[in-house]
Every structure is written in C-alpha cells, then in structure tokens.
Amino acid sequence: MDIQVRVWRQSDSSDKGRMVTYDVKDISPDASFLEMLDVLNEKLILDGADPVAFDHDCREGICGMCSMVIDGVAHGPQRATTTCQLHMRHFKDGDVIDVEPWRAAAFPVIKDLVVDRSAFDRIIQAGGYITAPTGAAPEAHATPVPKKDADLAFEAATCIACGACVAACPNGSSMLFTAAKVAHLGLMPQGQPERDTRVIDMLQAQDDAGFGGCTNMGECAEVCPKGIPLNLIGRLNSDYRKALRNSAR
C-alpha cells in the first residue's frame, strides 16, 4: 500500500520544529509501524536527507522505549498496543498519518520523535523500591503472599514506563505511572515498612520533575498499552492521605 506520513521534525531541543510530509510507497500490510518508518529512513538516507530519529529497542512491546503519537493518539489507534506492535494492516492505502513525539513539560524533545523521559527515573529514585540490600534476604517462603495480592501487584508492576499516560494527559500528569509503582510495592508484605514515606516522596518527586497535577480525566488509562487501571490512582490517593495522617502523629 502507499501512504503519506506527516512527521514532526525537530533537529534538537532548541529548534522550534515542524511537520514534514513524506510519501511511503509499497508498504506491506504485514509490516509494523516502525518497519514502515525504517523503509522511509532508508530512502531518506540514500536521498541525502536526514532520517527520522525515533526511540525503539525490543520491538515486542515490553521495553517501553517506543513512543509516538499517531494520528493524535499516544501509541496509535489499536488499544493496549505499543507503537512497535502496531501493524500497517490497521491503515488503508492512501491514508495520511500524523506522527508526533510525546508532548509534555516533563519530557523535552531531544530530536524528532525522541524525548527525554529521565524524569520517570527520578520518581523511582525517590522511593519506588523496597530497601533490601543483597545478601540480607530471608528465605523466600518465610512470608507467604496471598495470591490475590500477588496477582494484583503483578498487574500493576507490568507498567513499562513508556510515558503514553503522560503524553495523553491534558495536564501532563504522571499519576498513573506513579500509582502503578505505589500499588505494586504497597501490595507486597515486603513493601509495608516504607509504604508511607514511599508515597509521600514519590509524589514530591513527581511535582519537582515538572509533571502536572491529576484532575481525574482518565485519558491515561485509555492509551496505556499495559492496561494499568485508573482505580490505582484512587488507591494512591488513599495511601497518600493515610501516610500524611501517620506522619502527623
């Protein structure tokens, strides 16, 4: 099939950037969206032009590196699917497809479709862990974990830190990302001792990193490729209130 893509081109963080239109011809419907961009880039290189920079690595939906807003939707039209897992059979011959980077105050553009998501790491640094120095661990079966809690913790822990939630949020909030980590660790017995400080410190770090506030719009969960549920934000808020009460005591 033949399509057109209108791609955001920005040479570096100081450039203003613009949309540029390219024809991409003879694309197999079995190609992935990134493979379509590979084809475009091969042509751009041979034409002496600058290929489009985009982040990707695993190309199987797990590393969280790929990050494109496709036709206005973070990760594109297919639900619960990362950009790298989206295939061209979801488009038609003659389509014009817009491709843009994540846009959020906390994710500055580095080049073209590549953004800086290191703010996520700073949220984790603030408390997204359980302190367990190597060698000090008790026998694994010493503490059973109810299966229900373990399963819920796992669901929350499948977040791939792609940042689509932030890109989709009109406020540029990272609440779903933070809530997923708070829920994962807060559901495990091992995570209890640091539960209060964790939520307080991570929310502080989230503000410091320049993410916006959450006003319960729910756009984040709509685009999340891993199906992280919106109700984890409610859980985070209640954890936060408890933590504040406990620390006031």
């Binding site: 862990y129 190597t134 060698g135 661990a137 008790p138 796992f154």
Partner: protein, 646 residues
C-alpha cells in the same frame, strides 16, 4: 598450519579451587581478599550494562560502598534487553519436593550444555540459584504464587523437575525491575553515577590493567574518557550479528569486541542458540523476530504437509497427508525435544520443500487437538496472551488456523573468556551475564540465563572483584596518559571515517546482508565448505562496507545511523571469527551442528577425545589470523554421555 587460524599455547583457569566441588565456592570466598569498608568509597568501578547482570552488580557494589559508574545505551537502565525474557528463572529450591537439588541442577546444566562447560562454574551457579530467589522476593518481585501464598513453579525446557520460578510471561521484566529499583535507590543516594544514552566505544588499558573506557554521549555526541580501578562488562549477547534475531535492535558486541581487540580472549564464539518457536519472517521489511514461548509445545503439535509444494490451506489437508515429524522421529519426546533438535528438524523439512507460509520457511504448530481435548476456554486460560500476541503480529487467529513458527537466533553461549573469578585475560576487566562464556557450554537450558545474570551480579562478582580491588586504589591515570589519548583518538578517528565515506549503501543494507551470510552458513547447520565460503563473503562485504557505507549527519548530535555503523563494523569481525571457530570445531555439540559430524540417523556427534575444550581466541588484527588457545575441560562429576531423545 592452515589459512584461517594458528594454534597457540593452552590456557587454564587458575582461579578455581580444587577439592570437593560442593565447597569450592565457600573456599574461594574465604581465600578472597577483603576490602576495608573505609577504603571502598575510594575505589571506582565502571559497569557497562544495566541488564540483570550489570544492574544487579552495580546495585550490590554500591551497597557495599564502592563508587560505581554505570552505562547503558537506552534512555534508562530499566530498558536493558533482559526486560524481554518471558519464561522464567531456575532455582534449586526443591519446593515441589520432586527430587530437585543443587546437584541435580548442576548435573542438568552440564549435560544440557553438551559437556562443554566448566564443572566448577556450573556448580557455583546452581548453588547461588537459591539465594537469587530469596533476594528477588525481598525486593518485592511479584512472582506467580499458589493459593496458599507460596511461590509457584513450573517445569521448563525438558527437565523432569519443576524448578522454574516465573511472573506470568514477563519474568525478565519483573526481575530487571527489582535490580533497577535497587540501582535507582543507590543513584538517589549518590553512590551510583548513572549515564544512560552513553555508549562504550573503547577499553582503556594502562600497564596491562583495565583502567577505563571511552564513551560517547549519544545525545550530544561528546566523547569522554572515564577512569576507574576496575571495569565490568555486562553488555549482553551478540545474536544480532544475524541481523534477524529475538534480541532487541540495539543489542551489540561492541563493548566485548573492543575489549577483545585490546587483548581479552573471546571464547566459543560459534555456540549460538536457535530457538524453534518464533514467528516466521513476513517479508523483506522484517526488522526482528518475535519469540513465542516454548511452553506452547506442551499442547501444540508440529506438522508440515507430507508432500513437497502442497499449497493447500492447512484445514484442507487431511490427517493422512500431514507429517507430524517430531512425533514420528522422536516418539518418546515428540513435540518436546530440546531446542536445538526441534530447530534443526524444522529446517530439514523446509529444506525438503515442505515448509509453509511465505518463502516456505515455516512449520505449523497446531492446537486443534488441544482445543478438542481441553476446550477452547482451557487453552485460552493457558496461552491466551501468547495467542493474542501472535494475532497482533500476523493478523491470523490461532484458535482457527494453526500457528506458523520457524527457528530464530535467540542466545549466544560464547563470549569473553573469564576465569572462575569472572575476570577476563586482561587484569581488572571482569565480564558478567550473557557477555561472558562461562556457564552454559555449547547449549543453554531454558530459564538459566536469568539465573546466571543475577548469580554473577548479586553474588559472584561482588566477592571476586573485591579480591582484585583489595590491591587498590591504583595510581591515578592522568587524562594525557598515552593509553588514554590513544584510545580516545581511535574512537574519534573511527567516527570521522564513518562520516566521511559518504557512499551509496545504508548501514542496514550491509547488516542485513551480513545476517544472511551468517544464517545461511553459520546457522543451524554448518559445513566446512559453507564456512569457508562465508569467511570469503564476509571479508569482501566488510571491504565494501568501508568503501560504500553512507552515514548521514554529524558526530555532534543524536545520530542513530552512526551508532549502528559502529556496531555493524564490529559484527563483521565477530562474524568472521564465529565462522573460523565453527570451522575449527569439527564436531557437533549443543547449538553447533557440523553436517560432517552426525550419526547414521542424523543426530549430533561429539568428539570428546579431540574437542573437549574451550576455544579461546586471541586477536591480532582484522586482516591477521587469530590464535587459538585451548582450555581443556575436566569432568570429575558428570561423565560425558550421548544425549538421546528418541
């Protein structure tokens, strides 16, 4: 003497203690020198890589008080390729009371490696496996659990015990997040200096010791020289030399290869694991291959049409005209034969013209019987997410039509040679995880790579590296030291060379072509004739690369093609060495199948009298013959026998 390599002196692993195998690691820990806690913060360690091996090592070393500088090419340490591992991690916990033990895991691993691994290393790996699970649980890794709240196990990769711990199909992700979070905690405390989007392009060796690396900031293009008391490489495997593999697109050999060029021996480069259940190529745009979990073979039946060239739809081919070839050839193991055997059998039927799907490169994995027997619901409960992934990629519904699968390159057992302390032949250069060659011999068992990465990083390296660092801190190396200046210049020269060729072919086009050569001649079946031919083809392609490659842009910006050019240039040299190694090993073992060395019924034939050694290669220049050093393997506990799955 021959045209391709020369023979050198033997080498030996002098770090391993002798005596009873059960206590070797205890004794090594006791004899290892300790570093006074007050001295540790004066010692700097560079760790390249943040996968399971590098992430666990960096966190543990920082907790111990060392100053750690960590590097990865992704935008955050959490995206290292370990994230993609699906199936699980082995540990000899014997929670199922099914007769498992450290000794049994050791035995299975030595045997699974087709008797080409070191017993001492493997025993240690099996014994630290139990500590890994404790450590991960303490970090909050959400492993699958049973209703009673205890950890669940499954059996994996043809073993008779259930010792694999897992977190649905995302075990690697969950284990890596545990290590990543421990790392981030240390980064927050200021003990790890994290450098994401930084690529190591050269090793700095001063007076025979590894003392630093040259890195490029992938955003600004700035080249810096980073110094330390020791360097740890945890840079992963090199399966991407085949262009198409199940590895992430950025996986590369550059860190290891640069160290190899500086004198570190490279061991068993030809040992490659080819996984039988991957989604086949769909066309020339294909950029990577996706693994479908091996567990599918528990219920799926593998078949191809009986007649070559049968183009009917699978549903139109009657039972009598199908060939369930694994069940036919291996009646006792059937569809569950080990990876190497299943892969080669698929290749054979496709070579006979009986393959299915585009280009005839695929075989059916059919669930119709399982659905009939268990019901669609039960099949969905077991494999639902895998079926969904398959449909997302191929657009076909595997509940209605059989899956198509084909083997793909998955893991590389070879890597930099290390002794029992995980130290390479360059003092102060340690290698952990998939980047070293140490524990899997000629074939790795399923769920053992995660175990090795974390074993190396959490438990082995922190002890053995301490022994080396006890002699430090070493004298500061000034930035204008000859070795530092020379290493930096080498990097700068290479980059300007790439940018100035301005030819008419893209980096990817060369990489694809190299991959074809490797797959064709150094893939599932290797012959003397094919390998000799491949070496010639690789050499001329490499020459062409240096004349005709076109790398757009400049070095002072984010330039993904420049990054790729550097990696592909190193893959050319590695690919040649892999072929030479495969050529010299005139036997079949594990993932290495030489067509000339097979039994009457087509099974792999080892030659223990001649090849029971590790082949460790020394580099002398891209156009000069490498030298082969042999490390003889001794089997005191598990006696070499022939694998049989009939």
């Amino acid at each position: 003497m021959n045209d391709f390599w020369q023979d050198g002196e033997g080498i030996a692993d002098t770090a391993a203690p002798d005596g009873p195998i059960e206590t070797r690691w205890e004794r090594r820990k006791f004899t290892a020198k300790l570093v006074n806690p007050a001295n540790r913060r004066k010692l700097t360690v560079i760790v390249v890589g943040t996968g399971l091996a590098g992430g666990s090592a960096a966190a543990t070393l920082a907790e111990a008080g060392y100053h750690v500088k960590s590097y990865c090419y992704q935008d955050t340490p959490r995206r290292a390729h370990s994230i993609a591992a699906q199936g699980g991690i082995n540990a000899a916990k014997n929670y199922r009371n099914d007769g498992d033990s450290i000794y049994r895991l050791f035995y299975d691993t030595v045997k699974g490696g087709d008797f080409r691994a070191r017993e001492s290393n493997v025993y240690r790996l099996a014994s630290v496996s139990v500590n890994i699970i404790d450590q991960c649980v303490a970090q909050g890794v959400p492993f699958a659990r049973e209703y009673g709240g205890l950890l669940d196990n499954r059996s994996f990769g043809g073993t008779q015990v259930s010792r694999t711990f897992y977190a649905r199909g995302q075990t690697g992700q969950q284990l890596l997040l545990g290590a990543y979070q421990a790392m981030e905690r240390q980064i927050g405390l200021g003990t790890i200096e994290m450098n994401a989007r930084h690529e190591m392009l050269e090793l700095i060796v001063v007076e025979g010791k590894a003392r630093g690396i040259v890195v490029r900031d992938m955003v600004t293009g700035e080249i810096t020289t980073e110094m330390a008391d020791a360097v740890v490489l945890a840079s992963g495997g090199y399966g991407n030399v085949f262009f198409l593999s199940t590895n992430a697109k950025g996986c590369n050999v550059t860190a290891s290869w640069r160290a190899h060029r500086k004198g570190a021996l490279f061991a068993n480069p030809c040992y490659t694991q080819i996984h039988p259940t991957c989604i086949p190529e769909s066309g020339t745009h294909q950029s990577k291959l996706t693994l479908m979990s091996e567990s599918l073979r528990n219920d799926g039946r593998v078949w191809v049409p009986l007649a070559a060239g049968d183009a009917r739809k699978p549903g139109d081919i009657p039972e009598a005209e199908r060939d369930y070839y694994l069940e036919r050839i291996y009646p006792s193991f059937g569809n569950l034969v080990p990876r190497d055997i299943a892969s080669r059998a698929a290749k054979n039927v496709c070579d006979e013209g009986r393959g299915v799907g585009p280009g005839g490169l695929g075989v059916y994995l059919d669930f119709a019987d399982a659905i009939g027997r268990l019901g669609q619901k039960a099949v969905e409960a077991k494999y639902g997410n895998l079926f969904e992934m398959y449909e997302r990629i191929t657009g076909e519904n595997p509940y209605e039509t059989p899956m198509r699968i084909y083997p793909a390159v998955h893991y590389t057992m070879g890597g930099l040679w290390v002794d029992y302390d995980l130290q390479s032949t360059i003092p102060g250069l340690f290698v952990v995880g998939e980047a070293n060659f140490s524990d899997h011999g000629a074939n790795r068992l399923g769920a053992s790579a995660l175990m090795q990465g974390l074993g190396d990083g959490y438990f082995v390296l922190p002890t053995t590296l301490g022994n080396y660092l006890a002699a430090g801190p070493f004298a500061t190396v000034p930035q204008d030291h000859e070795a530092v200046v020379e290493a930096r210049r080498a990097v700068e020269d290479r980059i300007s060379r790439f940018l100035s060729i301005d030819g008419d072919r893209t980096v990817d086009s060369f990489h694809r072509e190299l991959g074809h050569i490797m797959w064709e001649y150094c893939g599932m079946e290797r012959t003397e004739e094919g390998l000799t031919k491949a070496i010639g083809l690789i050499r001329s392609l490499r020459d062409e690369f240096w004349q005709r490659v076109k790398v757009p842009g400049t070095g002072e910006q984010l330039n993904q093609n420049l990054e790729k050019a550097g990696r592909v240039a190193d893959f050319f040299e590695l690919g040649e060495l892999m072929c030479i190694d495969a050529l010299h090993r005139r036997e079949s073992c594990g993932g290495h199948f030489r067509a000339e060395s097979q039994s009457e019924d087509g099974e792999a034939l080892r030659h223990d009298d001649e090849f029971s050694y590790v082949a460790a290669w020394e580099y002398f220049g891209a156009d000069r013959k490498p030298t082969l050093h042999k490390e003889q393997l001794e089997f005191e506990y598990v006696h070499p026998s022939t694998r049989s799955y009939k």
